[in-house]
Symmetry: D2
Subunit: 370 residues, 4 copies
């Protein structure tokens, strides 16, 4: 393990709030049966990565971050022959994979059939440490090592890597969310927040037949992106309008009734105050953006009873949501030009700068191209 | 309209917080086409009646209260020939009827198919005034007048009047609620509150196949009734146990997982704090008891996202829930002895005493027998 | 309309298999309260009209056919002030209306909540006779008379009459069908039959997010229309391919798995033989096109059990499906150019020719423009 | 078991239609990591076993049959520490296990989330041969060997072995079926067939709140068992009644409407003819009994469209249905006395006689007690 072509550069979070280090790891010499080694082509940087950096989630430092990755299959462990759909795999294939791996044998995996709540869940780039071999469990690296039970998908030739990574974890996250809350042809859909989740939610709501879409955010540039993606109406919360006015605006845009579906993609607790009022009676509300604990908000249960609301939470994503991301993106990527969301591309060496760029909201989407 | 047998005694709410008056009204001489006149056999007094008395809901005073009524068909308007199920009606039939009447032509009636949110909804005993003829729109009266569009059901012979009135509006309310939230065979169900709604929820959860039922209340006597009805476990919140302990107790009773379904039947906003924690991940929570606005409670949206919860509101009931109440009660009334819930029976003249008895929680169920 | 301006020309089916007569009826002088008189702008001719002509459905001859109508509000009965969505109505408004009117009070209307199975259902242009005043119950006429309980919708200004009538009863029919069977983003959808129902099913499946659509028919011209509307794949059953090959073709187009959803829109019983095999295991099959009894086909129940299929029927449409048709068409009509489906326009006087044109499948869509 | 105590007696199907052999196999000396060895306490004989005997399903002969087994944990492979619910396992525990083992990694396991359609599914007692070590893959044996990925459940102390084995594979099968078709409180349920599946379906329908149950069969003794289990109505198809009369009888018992739910548990194709007519409009029909291919029946698609039916297939069962069987049986076994269904008990040596007894329908339920 000497000579520079056996070393792999990776960004490392060593402890909460420390500078991002660029470390070198040995390239795995021999893969376990069923494992895979990918050369990373493109790896997204996500808001969650910033949370990990600042210690807002408990993870086993040191960790190589990166859970939005497409790579090239460079080595295959014995027995790895097919992807999750049964398609043959060969060295050189472009690979997309589920960042989360469940155990398949706990109450949530087998009884409740809610894999994302698996009590033994591991997530590449988040809960797998780089303390011991084979180290390379995150996408912000030149290589990523996939354990035998990882869920791999061969990327169809007509789907560019940029289209997949640009929508990163937002795509499978919101595919899961909309699977839960449901959007049908003719529905009116209000979307709180025009970050990555909200923007992909907009695209998916439109593709699911939403006949009216309203996007609500405080950042003009994000709203502009929503407009380009085809949002029917925009509400800028900075335009001096009060919560009452915001709600009224949504009512006005929906024949005075309220939205059939409201998607909360801001992660801000008090977004619920407006959101529940924006729903029509018997409407559906998805609370999908609250991956970290940012505290409580005052909710009136009488509102839930009287309006007969349906409120759904949705956590993370399972392999089927990656599968659907591939199918859906292959169909729609040309229409929405998701690849244009990538405004910043970094080498691994510039990891610190990359993280700061994301933290300071200078990028729509930033990626590593190792 | 002279001679005492043409006068009808009824309890009247004249204005918020005034003594309950007993007034006399003329017995309707001629019915509109399709209308019906019932001689009241038994009419329940419900917590909502107390709210109406104290002005906690906006209603068109003066009002004859009473929305839980079984009566004998005494007169039939021209064209009234069948009940809602197409069964022929004759004078002398025992009649059960939906207290709420929807318009059938608004957005909620026709498009959203959520009749209980009809924007033109009228409710006997609540939103219909006794200011003008035919006056008799409430059950706390010797007679009740049903408008042409009322939904009537002939009561099956083998179903006693007491069995129906004892479970009053709680039965169709919770039948609606469980239609929304779902209870399947094998489910564990925790019920917050052992008032009329909670107790009927217990019976219905058991009949729907719940294999574990936990009832939570602060009143020993109510918990005793729950025990007699077959609750598997009871939690008395007065037994010096903290919210944490309450939640832990439910976890312990459900293999450490939490309840598949939690039914909030207390109407107390902060019941949600415990309730959401008592649900297992991806569990279902029904907020059914919040018919009046009793303020807010602090909810953490992260909990909804992370636990992937499903939270449902359910308001009132539609004719189909009365239909199901008849079917279900006919099957189960002998097993649960609901008639024993009636601990106090009053004449109309004793209306003031009756309302005070209910207000002071001295009765399990109080009824008028005019 | 010259000569006596109190006479209304209408096409009349006098008895099974008789020539279509053009008769004159008195223009209603005074409307009942709540009724409406529309001057017909455009009225579609549907396959069902041909069935009525040939006596394949029992109807109360004589009947003015026509159940796909848009007209201009010419007179309003007292009390008619708003459409079903609560929008104010005035003379001159363009009106779209539900051809079916349910009773709102039978088991299917109130208990099962399946209006299309109302036991007292009336359908304009089908089950209402023109034997007695006000006669004008069908759209193939200069005027149509809407009874007080009809469900009216004001047509939005930006939705052309042609866009609505071109998709006729097919639009609400398949909106209902897809409400029942469900199509989600990423689904693969196979459509048997490229007639009006199949073609609108194609558009709606695509709008609901189908990522793969396969249309199967024996008529080259219809398949061409499907291609123009964006079908991903076409199968011409006349291309000497066997049923086995047809099924295999669908499997090949869906990764060897079968379609997530198959929509049977041919009305031919033996379409089920292929259709059930085209579904993937646990797939969904909609039997929507079988409005007349064309006999049986051999089905193997083992297939249903082993493949764990879900098979749904869907009959007619309710007012909410007209509402959704308006919403959806307003969003998508520019994209699909449905108005181009109208290949033949007739005056009422040419009714016989019009019906023959439809019967002989010379038209994609034929309409009356009185 | 005398002589060599390292030999295990087991019934073996050597080839289609051959006598059942009793063979001896070596007791496994060392278990793989994660595997388990059970001493069989009780093993049911099911109709499927008779099909296997007669070669009606393709299986890898020789096979030790038996897929309804409860045994005592005698040896544990390294790493086997907990059951599927996370409960600690020790030698001496009573064990219930899922006969089917899925791969967890195919399209049906991960994408469609329909484990019972896993393309790599293995079933103990059916698809696992006893040709090579460790041989013991069926329950009709003194010991059964469970591979590392088997799904084990520790049986609760208060649930007798007889209660579990008496309802054999019928319990998880119909738990799956009713999960799919749904039965709610107040539903009327007609059950075609009073064999093991039909009888457990009756119990589960009642426990799920069915207010009217009708059981249809041609065998008087089976109907008697249904009556004892609480069926509300029985129809003996041998009582000279025609199919029309059978259907009419069900309509009469359901207010002239038809059953909300019909469960087909006969496995006879032409049962569908009656069954679809017994459903009310928009009713639900479960085709659960057709595990072998017994040919086709004539179905009229117009019936499916016009009646707006929902028809569901359900194949086999997944681990969660075993889990629910444990929960449900623990709650209800005392009420239904399922253990009394066991009318015949055999030693392994009497395998031939046991199979003949089941084939000749002399037993309600026959079991091996090795
Ligand atoms: Zn797990
Ligand atoms: Zn992310
Ligand atoms: Zn209404
Ligand atoms: Zn009440
Ligand atoms: Zn038509
Ligand atoms: Zn009706
Ligand atoms: Zn079996
Ligand atoms: Zn599998």
């Amino acid at each position: 393990m000497n000579g520079c072509d056996h070393l792999v550069k990776a960004a490392v979070l060593t402890a909460p709030n420390q500078p991002i280090e660029v470390q070198e790891f040995p390239r795995p010499e021999k893969l376990e049966d069923g494992a895979a080694l990918l050369k990373v082509d493109l790896a997204g940087i996500c808001g969650t990565d910033i949370h990990l950096w600042h210690g807002r989630l408990k993870i086993p430092y040191p960790v190589i971050p990166g859970h939005e990755t497409v790579g090239t299959l460079e080595e295959m462990g014995k027995g790895l022959e097919k992807d999750l759909l049964g398609k043959p795999l060969s060295v050189g294939d472009r690979i997309y994979f589920a960042s989360g791996v469940d155990c398949g044998r706990c109450y949530y995996c087998q009884i409740a059939k809610e894999q994302t709540r698996c009590i033994n869940r591991k997530v590449y780039g988040i809960t797998l440490s780089c303390k011991s071999p084979p180290y390379l469990f995150g996408g912000h690296s030149e290589y990523v090592y996939l354990l035998p039970k990882a869920y791999l998908f061969r990327v169809p030739e007509d789907l560019p890597t940029e289209s997949l990574v640009s929508v990163g974890c937002a795509a499978p996250t919101i595919i899961h969310g909309i699977e839960v809350v449901g959007v049908e042809a003719g529905d009116s859909v209000a979307i709180q927040g025009a970050g990555p989740i909200g923007l992909f939610a907009l695209a998916l709501a439109k593709e699911s037949g939403a006949s009216t879409t309203v996007v609500i955010d405080s950042v003009k540039e994000r709203l502009e992106v929503a407009r380009e993606m085809g949002a029917d109406f925009l509400i800028n919360t900075n335009d001096a309008i009060s919560p009452q006015e915001r709600v009224q605006r949504v009512l006005d845009l929906t024949d005075g009734i309220g939205a059939d579906v409201v998607l909360e993609c801001t992660g801000s607790p008090n977004a619920l105050d407006d959101g529940l009022l924006m729903c029509r009676d018997s409407g559906r509300y998805l609370v999908v953006g609250h991956f970290t604990d940012r505290g409580t908000t005052a909710v009136n249960p009488h509102l839930i009873t009287r309006k007969q609301l349906k409120i759904y939470g949705s956590w993370g994503m399972a392999p089927r949501h990656y599968y659907k991301a591939l199918k859906i993106l292959r169909t729609i990527h040309r229409k929405y030009h998701f690849e244009k969301l990538i405004t910043h591309t970094f080498s691994i060496e510039k990891a610190q700068e990359a993280f700061e760029t994301v933290e300071n909201r200078k990028a729509v989407k930033a990626v590593f191209k190792p």
